[in-house]
């Protein structure tokens, strides 16, 4: 069963418009949630994690345990935000293994 769901495969937004990528999870324990990003021709890298409660490159994500969601948001999209974004759930011992969603391709239109 899919433990992490990212419903929209492709998201096109205009530069300066808000971006929201949806992520829902299924987990019986206390979840650890992450967003990973992959820019063109680069490796997968951590964007942010819910425990840090920080904003990275203007992106924020709030863990909502009631709705089992961890949506990624940015108020004003930039061209350099065009990338593949993956929501991931930390599982197992130490939450050290990741269950990824299928990913969202974000295209920012100039």
């Amino acid at each position: 069963a899919q433990r992490v769901t990212q419903p929209e495969k492709l998201l096109s937004v205009f530069k300066g418009a808000p971006v929201e990528l949806k992520c829902n999870y299924s987990y019986s324990g206390s979840p650890e949630l992450f967003w990973y990003v992959q820019y063109s021709r680069q490796r997968l890298q951590l964007l942010l994690r819910h425990i840090s409660r920080e904003s990275i490159k203007g992106f924020t994500a709030d863990l909502n345990k009631g709705e089992t969601s961890f949506h990624l948001k940015k108020p004003f999209a930039q061209e350099e935000d065009s990338a593949m974004y993956y929501c991931a759930l930390g599982e197992g011992y130490g939450n050290n293994r990741l269950a990824f969603g299928k990913g969202n391709q974000v295209v920012v239109i100039p």
């Binding site: 490796r43 997968l44 130490g94």
Partner: protein, 115 residues
Amino acid sequence: DAGVTQSPTHLIKTRGQQVTLRCSPKSGHDTVSWYQQALGQGPQFIFQYYEEEERQRGNFPDRFSGHQFPNYSSELNVNALLLGDSALYLCASSLGYARLSYEQYFGPGTRLTVT
């Protein structure tokens, strides 16, 4: 620090053959995880090595096996290759297994094509 390195970059194998992929973790990291990423999908956890032992395993058959060496580098072996094994194989390293470790650093991947 070059970060996580993987070799080879890509390779082509025939059904039924065996393949070995290699990974060197980021300097200072002692835990290595392997993921399989099929086209259009997110990475899927295969297994994780710490102190030269497999510690966690995902839902993959025994055809998938691994090894970790004293220098923390790791190998992923796949026997009796199937067409469905064609994918990008990612290695990720992190620091610490017994304590919570949240950030995994990924390598560039090895693209395996099975014909």
